[in-house]
């Protein structure tokens, strides 16, 4: 397969990911800030979507990075991406917090007889779905512009490849190639950083 600019960009970004992960595990003095710049937004958005109170999302974001930095020697770059490891930490933080909220909610219900608990199922499952959606959305936002635009038209406007070609002026083959590369990238991100399916 020939290498296109978008692939080179991706290769560089995968490399950079490894450089950052190694520096983080090694405790390089710039690595915590760099990891926060790269993943802070995603971690915060995961916390915010899972916990309705903004102050709690901020607290969980803070706790995630502090405990990641303090526990950096337990991170093994050979076993997974730094992003995936951070997502695992924020997930535990969020689920713990949701369990506390759920207990409080039950207590309130017992007193007031309000029906419908906020989480029908396990809070962990709810958090996992939120996390996976955000990881895919985050990966989409990071795609090269044209790839992202093509996928957005396919996802949200439900357009066929032919319609996307007509709308963007791109040749049909190029649309298909953007779809293939872009979706493969989203999938890779989800597999690397997402909550691993059981």
């Amino acid at each position: 397969m020939n290498v296109e600019p978008a692939d080179v960009e991706q290769l560089m970004s995968d490399d950079a990911e490894r450089v950052l992960a190694t520096a983080f595990a090694d405790g390089a003095d710039w690595a915590l800030r760099a990891a926060y710049e790269r993943y802070g937004g995603l971690i915060y958005r995961i916390a915010r979507r899972s916990l309705s109170v903004p102050a709690e999302a901020e607290e969980v974001t803070q706790a995630t990075f502090v405990s990641a930095w303090q526990g950096r020697t337990t991170y093994d770059a050979r076993r997974g991406s730094l992003g995936g490891w951070l997502v695992g930490i924020v997930r535990r933080q969020v689920v713990d917090r949701l369990r506390v909220l759920e207990r409080e909610q039950r207590t309130v219900e017992a007193v007031t007889r309000v029906a419908e608990p906020p989480w029908q199922a396990d809070p962990g499952e709810h958090a996992d779905l939120v996390i996976d959606r955000l990881i895919v959305a985050d990966a989409l936002a990071r795609l090269p512009d044209t790839q992202r635009r093509v996928l957005e038209l396919a996802f949200y406007d439900d357009l066929t490849h032919q319609q996307i070609a007509g709308m963007t002026g791109l040749p049909l083959g190029t649309v298909k190639s953007h779809v293939r590369r872009g979706l493969a990238q989203l999938r890779r991100n989800w597999e690397v950083n997402g909550v691993q399916p059981a």
């Binding site: 290769l11 560089m12 970004s13 490399d15 950079a16 990911e17 490894r18 450089v19 950052l20 190694t22 520096a23 595990a25 090694d26 390089a28 003095d29 710039w30 915590l32 800030r33 760099a34 990891a35 926060y36 710049e37 790269r38 802070g40 937004g41 915060y44 958005r45 915010r48 979507r49 999302a57 901020e58 974001t61 803070q62 990075f65 502090v66 930095w69 303090q70 939120v130 959606r133 955000l134 990881i135 895919v136 959305a137 989409l140 936002a141 996928l151 396919a154 996802f155 949200y156 066929t160 490849h161 298909k176 779809v179 293939r180 872009g182 979706l183 493969a184 989203l186 999938r187 989800w190």
Partner: protein, 241 residues
């Protein structure tokens, strides 16, 4: 077991899986293959799942970022008393300065570069200023020998910015050493050139590279295997000033 023709259909099916997951029509031959091929079916299921996550997550990524206070609290929580001594011959700056060095660099160049997008190269003819020199101490990375170190400096030149890298202790090997600039925030890196035999090199920072973003200098050990991608970091350090 499979014939060349089967392998060809399989390859085409692999190319069509993403389109299929989005509900596109594909050739009957490919559809028939996917229905009967375990690997294609599994991959299609993974693509379907990702498409569903993307569609159901419409607008969930509002791009919200944590307020600045969150970073301040993280930094306060992990700040420990300064170590007694910096590693010999590597960094002589006080640790506090080191930690904030890149922030200071970014802030400073924004002022100096007034209207030119910070470090962004391209304002030729500004010549005279020598104040913009930035420096990076390069530390040995895990897996490289202990006594390896280096220094990188950046200074304005007639062609934008010039990067000088001097290293010592890099072992001679059947390969070469490549110098990179790394941007943590966008998580990208650019190759700037190959170190000479003396472990030194002078490079022009590629046009359009904003050094306030690409503020980490990295040296990697590369093999002569036709793979130009970054292979293994041996030295690294952030530009400071």
């Amino acid at each position: 077991m499979s014939s060349p023709h089967d392998r060809d259909v399989h390859a085409r099916a692999q190319d069509d899986l993403a389109s299929l997951a989005l509900g596109e029509n594909v050739s009957p031959e490919v559809s028939a293959h996917v229905a009967g091929c375990d690997r294609c079916r599994q991959e299609l299921a993974a693509y379907h799942h990702v498409v569903e996550l993307a569609r159901s997550g419409d607008r969930v990524d509002d791009g919200a970022v944590p307020p600045p206070a969150v970073w301040e609290r993280i930094e306060a929580a992990v700040t420990t008393p300064a170590p007694a001594a910096a590693p010999a011959g590597v960094v002589s700056l006080p640790s506090r300065r080191l930690r904030h060095g890149w922030l200071a660099a970014a802030a400073t160049v924004l002022v100096l570069g007034a209207g030119a997008g910070g470090w962004a190269v391209g304002h030729s003819g500004t010549g005279g200023s020598t104040a913009q020199t930035a420096r990076a101490s390069l530390h040995a990375q895990p897996g490289s020998t202990e006594n390896v170190d280096g220094i990188a400096t950046v200074r304005p030149s007639a062609h934008g910015y010039q990067l000088d890298v001097t290293t010592s202790g890099l072992p001679a090997r059947d390969g070469y050493y490549e110098v990179w600039l790394y941007a943590p925030s966008s998580n990208t890196m650019v190759a700037v050139g190959t170190l000479g035999t003396g472990g030194r090199g002078t490079f022009t920072v590629p046009a359009g590279i904003d050094l306030s973003a690409y503020h980490v200098v990295d040296v990697s050990a590369q093999n002569y295997d036709g793979n130009a991608a970054h292979q293994r970091s041996v030295l690294q350090g952030p530009l400071d000033r």
